[in-house]
């Protein structure tokens, strides 16, 4: 047992101290959050660019666990322009989902807290900082302005209610003022038809288990679209589906986005899907954005060693390679992360400066940035790095 303690296991005393400390921090956050009658001025903010639907600005979301603080999202900044699709890629545990949950304020509280940063949400004539919006106002934002499609269509529908009732509920709750039950049902059927369910009257009366995976995902998409949101968060919407169904769902999302002119935040780990659907790509690693740019820039000119590795490790149909590239090592332990480049230990192109602080963003083009010491503003790979390779 003694050996185990040496390898990062906590003593009971230490665990108690951490949990006491955590409670102190999270209580302070919760107290702030639970205030009543918060004036709107407090969370009113201004968009940096009025063409953006959402701006993530230096977002930090931490989880205060008994094993230590997990910095799930650690300084993430990116924008979602209106009418565009932004794809977030990364391995599991890199903070993709936590970023989107922060925007929806659906974090597991009190352990999960946004400790720093702003999420500016464009509401047309005004903008809110979602981080500071109180719970009762958030209710009006979720569903109406931002809605979410979850990964598992099997688990995100309630098995004991009929499909119609579940979609009706969304409409009645968020958009139901002055609508009779008949109107709501009308709208539900309309939505089900919009997402390509042929037998919409029949499906209205069905239970989730009577539908296939693709159909269920369509129902979930219909629910997300019920109130014409400005932003749809799609958290791995096709991961649980087969390729043929995936193609159908992607086509559907693309056409619906144009129809109601909303933006999509598309979270996935599949680079092929990203290339299909996204306009902008954000690559995340261990809670940070390592590279972002337009989809053409990322795929034509992947710059961060992690992005390059990620692309090389996925076999591509039609390209024959003898051995797949695999990124050495594994994702670092999220508890107590060091302050150097998180990818340093797995990077094959590590240079001396990598020992220093976390690398700043280097701008390769107006839209393409990368956080790596191999690059400097406006330039490709810096000279000294070229010499080492």
């Amino acid at each position: 047992m003694a050996k185990k303690h040496a390898e990062g296991y906590l003593s009971a005393k230490e665990a108690r101290r951490i949990s006491r400390e955590n409670r102190r921090i999270t209580n302070a956050f919760e107290k702030r959050r639970k205030r009543r009658n918060v004036s709107e001025a407090e969370y009113l903010t201004r968009m940096r660019d009025s063409n953006n639907a959402v701006e993530f600005d230096n977002l930090h979301t931490y989880f205060f666990t008994d094993a230590g603080t997990v910095k799930s999202v650690d300084g993430v900044s990116f924008d979602i322009p209106i009418g565009k699709t932004v794809g977030v890629v990364g391995e599991s545990g890199c903070g993709k989902s936590v970023t989107s949950l922060s925007l929806m304020q659906l974090l597991q509280r009190p352990q999960g807290q946004i400790v720093e940063g702003e999420i500016r949400l464009n509401l047309g004539n005004k903008a809110y900082d979602v981080v500071k919006v109180p719970n009762e106002r958030m209710q009006g934002i979720r569903g109406n302005v931002v809605s979410m499609i979850f990964q598992e269509p099997m688990t995100s529908l309630n098995p004991v209610f009929r499909i119609g009732d579940q979609v009706d509920e969304v409409i009645a709750l968020h958009d139901g003022e002055g609508k009779s039950r008949q109107d709501v049902k009308q709208r539900t059927i309309e939505l089900l038809e919009m997402v390509g369910i042929a037998n919409s009257e029949g499906v209205y009366r069905m239970y989730p288990h009577e539908l296939s995976g693709g159909m269920r995902q369509r129902v979930v998409i219909a629910m997300a679209l019920a109130c014409n949101p400005r932003l749809i968060i799609a958290d791995e919407p096709t991961t649980a589906l087969d390729v043929t169904i995936q193609a159908q769902v992607l086509d559907l999302l693309r056409s619906l986005k144009n129809r109601i002119n909303s933006s999509i935040l598309f979270i996935t780990h599949d680079l092929g899907v990203i290339a299909e659907i996204a306009d902008y790509v954000v690559v995340m690693y261990a809670g940070r954005v390592v590279e972002k740019g337009t989809v053409e820039e990322i795929f034509a000119n992947p710059s961060h060693p992690y992005t390059i590795g990620l692309m090389a490790s996925k076999p591509v149909v039609g390209k024959k390679v003898d051995k797949l590239y695999s990124i050495p090592g594994k994702v670092p332990n999220p508890v107590n992360m060091p302050n150097y480049c998180y990818f340093k230990d797995r990077c094959e192109r590590c240079v001396e400066t990598c020992q220093g602080e976390y690398p700043p963003e280097a701008r390769l083009s107006p839209t393409h940035t990368v956080s790596c010491y191999l690059y400097r503003d406006g330039k490709g790979e810096s000279e000294d790095a070229g010499a080492e390779n």
Partner: protein, 350 residues
């Protein structure tokens, strides 16, 4: 129920109910010969659990697998890929019909004792490394248990043997005393691989071994599987729904739809020149990681029909863009359209 063997000419197929098929002769170049394998599951209903119907999970699958090669089995979920893999290993009860010849021996004719001996020769790696490992056994025991049961190595060499197996699979031998929950997904999959390979098998069914893993870990596991195959001359049946992975690892590919193998041939033939309309649609749906390429999609209408009540004739006719009256009425048979490239479709009838 005893098999009714008929003297029909090769390739001809009887009605699905009577299980009629032509037995094949053993050909020593193939480690595994599967001929018209059928596996139906009963649907129980009513007060006294009467059988009210059948789910035709595997309905006439025929292929041969050469020694030391990998065959990929692809298809949508629910098409019977996994059931085929399990039925070959005799892991899901008795077959409904057909033949499975492993090294010339009918797997379903073996006595329990013979089958037990055969288990060391054929192994399986399961899909989900999070649920296929016993949580209360240390890793060394998980890997070594079967080795001890089958008396593969003398007692005094047992520890060294387990160490060596772990080392081969990229695990640290000092992790032997740890429990599965202490490992990451990739490492757990390595444990599953080590458990299968500890018995020195000749044939391994890999049932979606990388589906539950991240992209970078996937690459590690695929490379490991390939490397072990070269080292131990293993034969794999690689079941996956990820077509790019299958193309990478397989020498031949079989495409399944609703319990039928609709197309089967070498990887090159299948991917360069898919013939069956379903294969074409399936391949056109693969997302290409290149934003400049816009694939011409063949979008299939509807979803996969229920295997409890499959369509008549060609099972794909409900979704096929080239469906004719003949497809609705008559079941197509497997034809060799090119050398080594088999298709089950009326479009390729001579």
């Amino acid at each position: 129920m005893p098999e009714r063997k008929t003297d029909r000419p090769a390739g001809a197929r009887g009605p699905a109910e009577d299980g009629g098929f032509t037995p094949v002769e053993y050909d020593p170049q193939y480690i595994l010969m599967v001929n018209q394998l059928k596996k139906y599951f009963p649907i129980k209903g009513g007060m006294v659990s009467k059988t009210v119907g059948q789910v035709k999970a595997v309905d006439g699958v025929t292929f041969n697998l050469k020694r030391g090669t990998t065959m990929g089995l692809v298809g949508e979920s629910g098409c019977g890929k996994t059931t085929t893999g399990r039925a070959i290993l005799r892991l899901s009860g008795e077959k409904t019909g057909g033949q499975v010849l492993f090294n010339g021996q009918e797997v379903y004719d073996l006595s329990p004792k013979q089958l037990r001996a055969l288990r060391t020769k054929m192994q399986i790696i399961f899909q989900d490394p999070f649920s296929s490992l016993p949580p209360r056994l240390p890793v060394g025991e998980i890997i070594g248990e079967a080795v001890r049961e089958h008396h593969l190595v003398p007692k005094e060499q047992f520890n060294d043997y387990v160490d060596q197996v772990m080392d081969n699979c990229g695990l640290q031998p000092f992790h032997k005393d740890r429990y599965p929950h202490e490992f990451s997904g990739g490492q757990r999959q390595r444990i599953c691989i080590a458990r299968a390979l500890a018995l020195n098998p000749e044939f391994v069914v890999c049932d979606e071994p990388v589906s539950a893993l991240d992209v970078s870990i996937q690459a590690q596991i695929i490379n490991l599987l390939k490397q072990l195959q070269e080292k131990y001359k293993l034969t794999y049946l690689f079941i996956s729904h990820d077509l790019s992975v299958v193309e990478h690892i397989s020498d031949s590919v079989g495409v399944m739809y609703l319990g039928n193998l609709v197309e089967y041939g070498s990887t090159q033939d299948i991917f360069r020149n898919p013939m069956h309309p379903y294969t074409k649609a399936l391949f056109s749906a693969i997302p290409v990681p290149d934003p400049t390429v816009r694939m011409e999609r063949i979008v299939l209408e509807g979803s996969i029909p229920s295997p409890a009540n499959p369509p008549s004739g060609c099972k794909f006719h409900t979704r096929c863009p080239h469906c004719t009256q003949r497809c609705v009425e008559e079941e197509p048979i497997q034809r060799e359209v090119e050398p080594g490239h088999y298709v089950v479709c009326h479009l390729y009838d001579p």
